[in-house]
């Protein structure tokens, strides 16, 4: 291959200016002509039967155009389990569940009218603890679970409220523990947190009776999946539904699946063709969209004296909240690699996705990896301590390397883990003495390793248009959620067509014209869509060269291609710019279109009994992060002093963007480590649904960040690229947890490491010692 011209370059984001200058129009900003304003009535009850709904007063309120309840929208949806009604049907399962909605001429009217809807509830038992909700004798939150349509791979648990039971069985852990010299066993806990994207959720919908077409404008990260879910729910043909994606102001996993869309759609059928907008405010976003799974992790590890891992047994309760959403797949893909990126002969994992009467949990950047790592990586340090081994040495001894067969039966390749570990720990001067702390303040270092799979198998398709001016338009279904895909995909097209980046333009995402893409999730886009755009660009280039042959009176094999031109190999000055080729072939309005798609061909499906698969993921992302922290023993306050993050990205298509992704991920990870926690009381009520008491980190809480890009190329990836979106925050809490323990000699098993939690742990140790 010739030298790279666009790929691998630290190019500034193509959307930077538009966003920095405030010109970008996000979904939340969108105003459509003749638009109505929607407002939602949310359940005030965590678990209750709906005895009666009276909408008469709301309907009679001046300015109200439509009031809808489940009677008007008797549909359900769900990615893998169709358990979620558009609007509550007969019962509510969490506070914040949409029960009814109003569309009115203006926002104030909608708000006033929604308050006039009367609902009578009959209380049912409320479950707020995933470990409790699956005890024998508990009432089923979804009594009709058996009747729901669901994906083939769903394995309903035997216990109540278990929507999915994932099993991993390798070797025999009983034997493994018998052969171990040291066994460590502990319970870890990760609380519910939320994505807190800057832009809250909203959706616009319009139904045109004459054409029978439904149009939905929403910043959804997987418009084709949303299209599929709506199609299935409504029983409408796919061609009649169209999704248009305005810009998305962040998502982090919270904007896939259907959130506000069902409410907007339910209203749109009753507004005589007028579009309706439904917007959630911050509080509504907190209680009624999506959260990250709380997880109770029991982990037991057995090891030989020399540090060889023998067995690991983990039981993970994933708190799914009121509806299944992505819980089954978070449970599978989070539980599978939870034992860590290590060779372990005997492994047993049981993951349970358990319904509770809390806000719905689903995908969140990292997809279950942070929860497993919080337990597994801290336990690795515990074992090292018990053996008197260095935490690096024990990992080096056991970690996955090229060609290893993983405990789920897959042979691994392109394993950049070791390099990430070496570089991340070196960056914080591991093993060297630290600066002396003030009295009462202790300094410590710690690190954690992770391996993350991506959703597989999946497909991405793309189109590339070249017009008679030589300008390139890319048709790709990847959503610019802030991660920089428009820049990356532009670079790929610019690379293959050898044109300057300014000549490449990304088409707006519209399911009527854009080729299929599975989703902008799971760190999959650079790899899958990158491959698709690359193939589409090559396809366009081939057609252009084909067309240029007669124009240059040469055979295709005698033609060369560079700098946006086709030329004669032996007479390079005889060249035609690609725009000129298009013009001569198709005329001034002509366009050459290239198409390409990429599907990762999976090997054997996941075996539901053993959890084994010979190709569980298209590629794996490896990372190590290392933290240096300061702990104030008198207050329990943890301050991160510096944090290195080494990520194996395969190939950095845009190093600048990689660094930005890593930094953004680490900052988010620090928030989840030190501050973030959605506090929900035992009545199911969120106690801190605002930024006053839900604490994201500020710039002042952000330490010195040391991002490190490691490139261990993935042969199937475009130019060797893997993915990077999610892992940035996955090892962060565990790394900080290990550093805190190194500093104060106490382990805090429950996140977040907020001052109070750390303080009581230190106090307890002092008391025990006395």
């Amino acid at each position: 291959m010739s030298e790279l011209t666009a790929v691998g370059k630290p190019i500034q984001r193509v959307d930077a200016e538009e966003k920095i200058t405030g010109q970008a129009v996000y979904g939340y900003d969108l105003v459509l002509p003749d638009m109505l304003y929607g407002k939602t009535l949310f359940s005030p009850k965590a678990h209750a039967r709906i005895k009666r709904i009276n909408t008469e007063k709301a309907k009679a309120y001046p300015g109200v155009v439509a009031v809808v309840t489940a009677e008007d929208a008797p549909w359900t949806h769900g990615e893998t389990v169709k358990d979620k009604p558009f609007l509550a049907q007969g019962k509510v399962r969490c506070i914040g569940e949409p029960v009814a909605a109003v569309a009115a001429e203006d926002e104030d009217t909608a708000e006033a009218a929604v308050k006039l809807i009367e609902v009578e509830y009959e209380d049912l038992p409320v479950y707020t603890d995933p470990e409790e909700a699956c005890k024998p004798g508990c009432v089923e939150i979804h009594e009709d679970f058996g009747k729901y349509r669901k994906a083939d791979f769903i394995v309903k648990g035997a216990a109540p409220n278990v929507a999915e039971h994932f099993k991993l069985r390798t070797g025999d852990v009983d034997i493994g523990f018998k052969q171990s010299d040291v066994i460590v066993e502990e319970r870890y806990f990760v609380p519910i947190i939320q994505h807190a994207a800057m832009e809250p959720h909203s959706a616009h919908a319009q139904f045109d009776k004459e054409s029978g077409r439904l149009t939905i404008w929403v910043a959804n990260d997987a418009p084709f999946r949303a299209l599929h879910e709506i199609t299935e729910a409504l029983g409408m043909p796919k061609e009649k539904i169209r999704f248009i994606n305005p810009l998305q102001g962040g998502g982090f996993g919270s904007k896939g699946g259907l959130k506000v869309e069902p409410i907007a759609v339910a209203l749109a059928f009753h507004t005589n063709g007028r579009p309706v907008r439904v917007k959630f405010n911050r509080e509504e976003t907190f209680i009624s969209t999506l959260t990250r799974h709380e997880a109770v992790v029991y982990s037991k590890t057995g090891v030989k004296k020399d540090g060889t891992l023998m067995a690991r047994a983990m039981t993970i309760y994933w708190g799914a909240g009121a509806y299944a959403e992505k819980s089954p797949t978070v449970c599978i893909r989070g539980s599978l690699p939870a034992p860590g990126p290590y060779r372990i002969p005997h492994v047993k994992v049981d993951g349970y996705a358990v319904y509770t009467n809390k806000p719905v949990a689903g995908s969140y950047r990292g997809y279950g990896i942070p929860q497993g790592a919080w337990a597994g990586e801290q336990q690795m340090d515990e074992i090292a301590k018990r053996l008197g081994m260095d935490p690096i040495a024990i990992r080096m001894k056991n970690m996955f390397v090229e060609g290893d067969i993983s405990y789920w039966g897959e042979q691994l390749h392109a394993v950049g883990l070791k390099e990430t570990l070496v570089k991340a720990t070196e960056a914080i001067d591991w093993g060297k003495p630290t600066k002396t702390a003030k009295p009462g303040v202790k300094i410590g270092k710690g690190f954690a390793c992770i391996q993350k799979p991506t959703r597989s198998p999946t497909t991405s398709a793309a189109g590339v248009l070249v017009n008679a001016k030589g300008e390139v338009t890319v048709l790709a279904g990847t959503v610019e959620i802030g991660q920089g895909c428009n820049t990356i995909l532009s670079q790929v097209a610019a690379e293959e067509l050898k044109v300057p980046l300014e000549r490449v333009h990304m088409h707006q995402l519209d399911t009527d014209v854009i080729p299929f893409d599975a989703s902008t999730t799971s760190s999959r886009s650079t790899y899958h869509m990158g491959n698709a755009v690359r193939r589409a660009s090559i396809h366009a280039r081939e057609q252009i060269m084909e067309a240029a042959g007669p124009m240059l009176e040469a055979k295709v094999q005698d033609l060369g291609y560079a700098d946006g031109k086709v030329f004669l190999k032996d007479q390079p000055q005889q060249a035609l710019p690609i725009g000129e080729v298009v013009r001569r072939k198709l005329g001034i309005h002509g366009k050459v279109r290239g198409d390409g798609s990429y599907t990762y061909e999976i090997g054997k499906d996941l075996d539901l009994e053993t959890g084994h698969s010979d190709h569980a993921s298209a590629f794996y992302m490896y990372a190590t992060q290392a933290a240096e922290v300061e702990v104030d023993e008198e207050s329990g306050r943890v301050r991160v002093l510096r944090m290195s993050a080494a990520h194996d990205v395969g190939k950095a298509i845009n190093p600048l963007n990689c660094v930005a992704q890593i930094e953004g991920g680490v900052v988010m990870g620090i928030g989840s480590a030190l501050h973030e926690e959605l506090v929900i009381d035992n009545t199911g009520k969120v106690r801190n649904p605002s930024f006053l008491d839900y604490h994201l980190v500020t710039s002042l809480d952000t330490p010195e960040l040391i991002p490190i890009v490691v490139e261990c190329p993935e042969p199937e990836g475009p130019y060797g690229a893997k993915g990077l979106g999610e892992p940035g925050l996955a090892p962060t809490p565990a790394a900080i947890g290990n550093a805190v323990t190194d500093a104060v000699g106490v382990r805090v098993y429950d996140l977040p490491l907020k001052p109070e939690n750390v303080y009581w742990a230190i106090r307890k140790k002092k008391k025990d010692a006395a």
Binding site: R637, H675, L692, L700, D701, K754, E756, Y759, W760
Partner: protein
């Protein structure tokens, strides 16, 4: 955020006019200063004032002035940012400018006024403890004339002060202090910025030049009682003594016993109480060590 209900809006140019407006319009009105508490209460907490009287057109209500008797007056409409950056305050009472610097963010401090911080009477208000340790008094003007009350007696409970709804807080006065006065304010909250105090501690005392004895000790706690709270037993334990680390620890423990914290979504009462102890100790020692020279040093000394 909710749109507010309609309300009448007045912008009087004098105190007399403001008083008259209140008399004529009767109860249900609110004064507006920077609006950083009031507007949020209206948009998010369902407060519906019948009418609003903006104080910002009334001249003479803002600014920091040293009087001939050595006292300092701070107009009620003075912003937190002005107090934070005032050369006079920074030089004389650096801990008071620190307490102002702890409020929200620069954007908030550019609007937030000290009068609003007092009148709103949140138990966690950052401005109150440092002003109380400085023996500040509050000048209040109403239809029935003026009165001056010690700031220590100004607060009555969360959101409640001694002012009636037609009274305006116009200025705070810090009486002259001795040349050996030292002090400190520590705001304890998990996040570095944009957080409410879980515990606030202000201390001040006169530090003997040679004997290092502490005299005129004042310790005021924020966010651990319905109003800012003087820890009088703790003060007494230090009065006339030479400060040592052991003594600071003991005084902190007494202050912790005096605190009346509650448990809420932010923190348990027990933890707040423990932090009163730790932060009082630190504040006492920091005060003796002299003002922090930089923001970073201040941050380092807090924890």
């Amino acid at each position: 955020m909710k749109r507010t209900e309609p309300f009448e809006f007045y912008q009087p140019a004098s105190l007399q006019e403001a008083s008259r407006l209140l008399k004529e319009n009767g109860p249900g009105g609110r004064f507006l200063a920077g609006g950083t508490d009031l507007v949020i209460a209206m948009k998010e907490k369902g407060l519906v004032p019948k009418y609003i009287v903006d104080l910002k057109r009334i001249s003479g209500l803002s600014g920091i002035r040293e009087q001939s008797d050595g006292s300092i007056t701070i107009g009620a409409l003075t912003t937190m940012r002005e107090i934070e950056t005032s050369p006079l305050i920074t030089k004389k009472y650096s801990f008071l400018s620190q307490s102002a610097a702890e409020v929200g963010s620069i954007q908030i401090r550019n609007r937030a006024t000290v009068g609003g911080n007092m009148a709103n009477a949140t138990p966690s208000a950052d401005g109150a403890p440092a002003l109380i340790v400085l023996n500040a008094t509050a000048k209040i003007v109403g239809a029935n004339g003026d009165r001056t009350v010690p700031l220590e007696e100004f607060f009555r409970g969360p959101g409640q002060t001694v002012m009636t709804s037609d009274e305006i807080l116009i200025e705070l006065t810090i009486p002259k202090t001795g040349p050996r006065l030292v002090g400190e304010y520590i705001k304890f909250s998990p996040r570095e910025m944009m957080d409410l105090a879980y515990v606030g501690v202000a201390v001040a005392y006169n530090l003997g030049a040679s004997d290092k004895k502490c005299e005129g000790v004042r310790i005021v706690l924020g966010a651990v009682a319905p109003t800012p709270l003087r820890a009088k037993r703790a003060e007494a334990a230090l009065e006339g003594q030479t400060l040592t680390e052991t003594l600071a620890e003991k005084v902190g423990q007494i202050a912790a016993e005096e605190a009346k914290p509650i448990s809420d979504v932010r923190s348990s009462a027990d933890y707040r109480r423990a932090m009163v102890g730790a932060m009082t100790k630190r504040a006492l020692l920091n005060a003796a060590a002299g003002p922090a020279k930089s923001w970073v040093e201040r941050r380092e000394r807090r924890y």
